[in-house]
Symmetry: C2
């Protein structure tokens, strides 16, 4: 008798047909002898509608009240799913974040989970119930409703799986797993059977967007096996697990391209201690999210410093840099808006040489110019012209044979 | 510094404009130096939409889950109203039934309030907040969400007013008060300044429908002054209070007509002890709500027994009576579907003679035939032909001068 947590996103519960389909998944798992927890998001565009309702009344709504408002979306889904299950002959009970004891801090709109009362769920298991928990929400120590921010329902599901020591946390979504690259660009991309938390974290931050980074960090911390799979067809998806030895044999697990990036370069920045710190502290203060930073010394006194940001942050970043004009000396500022970042990710890089060379070689053969390069322990990223992003990704995928299962690639 | 409870029904908070208008009412009361509690219902047709969503999944949804679902409607309204108030510069906090400590029993869909934690509200008053409470809902001892059934938001408001010993419980609605008769039928009807709990209870049960009887009973029990007034215009409405001496000087406070009634008569019922009890116990078992009962002895052995029910209960009532055929002996059954009940209500009846005569006389002059008559201490009701209902009501209203303020009527 195992414990299975199943999470269904908004598109998987958007209407009555989909709610029944999701309910059937949970019933199937229960019939196999499992105790089942379902975590559900708000139906379809419900959250967007509620946000619009609030904005009509106040363009700067207080966060506590927004959390109180938005949490109703998930509450509706879980009670409707319980109603559906009863109609299908399955005992089930819906639970809000508060009812399940999903205790968080009081940072409204992006609260962090502090503890979960697993006893309450076990008590419902003992009554033969499937427990349907409203995702994305919790309750603080004063009884206020909180929400967990972006990707919150994934976090709820993984946290519940951790608290219950569940066998698996299944994330049902509209794709059937995680692919070696975006199949819309690299048509030969194939689904991965398994990937490590660290790899998916690099892929997620690079825009692969299957799951929010925070829920994966949670899964990594508590060693929760996450199964990303399709809510439409009943086939195996991709397992996200801790690193296993065979992963090291794989040079590159996946590749991504991220567009809508801009690069800001400061030429001839005064090369004194604390300069970079001052710049990035100021950017952080302006709520600019900086991706990659590259600094090179050009002389004893001067350096070139560049960093990439999302296009939507470019204006704020420019303003912030201009505000520093009096306190930071530099010769010239330049901005490039037409760039993309191509990355390859794989824990195998730790033990294999030549990955970077292979990537640069593939890009050169495809006549893609590399603007700049950054690396982490398990990632290599190249900034390229935006209009070469597709060409670059395809070239890199072909080079690392991302159209073949890992075991069939040449070593 | 007083305490004011204001209740806004679904039509008074149906859209952003109306929510702001309701918020302004509360802010105005706060600016006068009052501590203010707002009780709000679900917006417009939200509850109906949620019921339809549930029925699509299960035509017999479990009540616990329906309560969990429907309570979201009120939760949305209160957070939206708090958001509106913040935008209008007013400190405010929304509260669900659970957050406010509105403790009920566990009879889902028609729970009864057991206690309210007034301390929580006072703590919010101390912070300068208007407290906006989700009506219609509570929480049971196990943390399950409950709802209070029909007229539940009125009950929430009156119960809160009682718990806080509020100066007044204002019920905002789309009419501007309680009239001496339905102005759609009796065009000269005027608004009453004041009416007693007992009178409004008789009027409510007779179909005047301004407030649900349960909330008025609550008000009577805890002596809460209820002010029924318009959400559209800022004029005095009608006060519902305990009986005051000057009410005794008023012969009749109001008159009503109730249509959609049916009468079932049993002719020649065996006149033995326990017969009526057996009949009405069986009707109650069939969930038939019986209005008036009239029994007359026609001989030592036999009686005629008749009772009225709403048209919607007629079929169930007929079936129930037929089921009794073997155990209850009677000569004949007859059914009239085309009847209406005309009633006059007034605590003054207790100390004045001739009210009944005056009513019968008015009906006779208007050539309205009286089928049967029932009375209570403060009410006289006549069953008449349904197509004479309007004529009858107008005649009775004219006779008791219900077009004039009480103090200007002839004694």
């Amino acid at each position: 008798m195992g414990i299975v947590v199943q999470k269904f996103g908004g598109t998987s519960v958007a209407d009555a047909v989909k709610i029944r389909k999701a309910a059937q998944r949970a019933i199937d798992a229960a019939k196999k002898g499992n105790n089942v927890v379902v975590v559900a998001s708000a139906r379809g565009k419900q959250t967007d509608h509620l946000i619009a309702d609030a904005m009509e009344l106040n363009s700067n709504p207080p966060r506590r009240e927004m959390d109180q408002l938005l949490s109703t979306g998930e509450q509706q889904t879980v009670s409707l799913m319980a109603i559906a299950m009863h109609g299908m002959g399955q005992k089930a009970v819906s639970m809000t974040g508060g009812q399940i004891g999903m205790r968080t801090d009081s940072v409204f709109s992006k609260a962090r989970i502090q503890s979960i009362d697993a006893k309450k769920i076990h008590a419902e298991f003992d009554k033969g119930n499937i427990v349907i928990v409203a995702g994305f929400q919790g309750i603080d120590e004063n009884g206020n409703t909180t929400t967990l921010g972006r990707g919150g329902s994934d976090t709820s599901a993984v946290a519940l799986a951790a608290a219950l020591k569940a066998d698996v946390c299944e994330i049902y979504t509209d794709v059937d797993g995680i692919y070696t690259a975006d199949p819309r660009v690299y048509k030969k991309a194939i689904k991965m059977k398994q990937i490590s938390y660290d790899e998916i974290l690099e892929l997620a931050s690079l825009g692969a967007g299957v799951m929010h980074g925070r829920s994966i960090e949670f899964g990594k911390k508590y060693d929760v096996t996450i199964h990303v799979r399709s809510s439409l067809v009943d086939i195996e998806g991709t397992l996200i697990t801790h690193e296993v030895p065979q992963m090291e044999g794989i040079l590159v697990s996946g590749a991504t391209s991220q567009k809508n990036l801009a690069k800001i370069g400061l030429i001839g920045v005064e090369n004194t201690p604390g300069t970079a710190a001052k710049i990035f502290a100021h950017l952080a203060g302006a709520k600019v999210s900086v991706n990659d930073i590259i600094q090179t010394e050009v002389s004893k006194e001067k350096a070139n410093l560049s960093f990439t940001v999302g296009n939507s942050d470019l204006l704020d970043a420019k303003t912030a840099i201009e505000e520093l004009k009096s306190s930071i000396k530099y010769d010239k500022i330049f901005i490039r808006e037409d760039i993309a970042e191509i990355s390859v990710v794989g824990v195998g890089m730790r033990s294999h040489y030549g990955v970077a060379n292979k990537m640069f070689d593939a890009l050169a053969k495809a006549k893609v110019n590399i603007d700049s390069i950054t690396t982490s322990e398990i990632r290599i990223s190249c900034i390229v012209d935006e209009d070469q992003a597709e060409t670059a990704l395809i070239a890199v995928c072909d080079a690392f044979e991302l159209d073949k299962p890992a075991e069939k690639r040449s070593k």
